[in-house]
Amino acid sequence: MADFPFIKVQREDFDLTTEVAKLRAGHKNIGAVVSFVGTVRDINEGDEVSVLELEHYPGMTEKALEKIRLEAHDRWALESSMIIHRIGKMLPSDQIVLVAVSSRHRENAFHAAHFIMDYLKTNAPFWKKETLPDGEVRWVDSRVSDKEAEQRWTK
């Protein structure tokens, strides 16, 4: 069993191939790897976005992400999983978040990765602030659709 950090909150970008290799290392019976990468869109709420800034609650963030990750392992038979979430300033097209999950069979990896993202969206203490081309700065509103997505997983 590989012993790498399963949760990372970092300013630096990440490389998908490198991270998936870490996820898979030491697990010989993996048949499926599902990865989700969230990226900065150039348009939000109809407005062009120049810069996105991510703030978080250090300490609680890691705790919340690990809780979500372990909940996924409780619900599905997984081989390994990881979450990387960036903080600080990002530009359109930049990678924000990676969720990667491996399992023997694909069904579990698909469900678990989707579940982790839906829970992360409503339970991990991150906040986005966006800067528009005219210099306006605004906090991004939470989406009702994210709360609904989370509730679909209620047992």
Binding site: E55, Y57, G59, H85, V97, T122, P125, W127, W139
Partner: protein, 82 residues
């Protein structure tokens, strides 16, 4: 003492990221009532805010959650990561 943290728009609206208050409250609600007594600005941002999110010792909590000396209580708007 209770350590209080404000994040994101709350930090900006209230003009501070954290403060310490004497631990004389038994629940989050009582702490919110004290903060509200500072003026409308505080009352509207926190106590009257139906979207207020609360964490006690870095776990999601509610207004009814008990607090004691040494606790870390955080107030923040709905999260928007991912």
């Amino acid at each position: 003492m209770v350590n209080i943290l404000y994040f994101a728009s709350f930090r900006e609206m209230l003009g501070q990221a954290n403060e310490q208050l004497p631990a004389k409250h038994t629940t989050v609600s009582e702490l919110l009532a004290e903060l509200a007594s500072r003026g409308d600005h505080w009352k509207v941002a926190l106590e009257d805010n139906v979207n207020l999110q609360i964490a006690v010792n870095q776990d999601i909590a509610s207004r009814e959650t008990a607090i004691k000396a040494g606790d870390e209580v955080a107030f923040f708007p709905p999260v928007t990561g991912g």
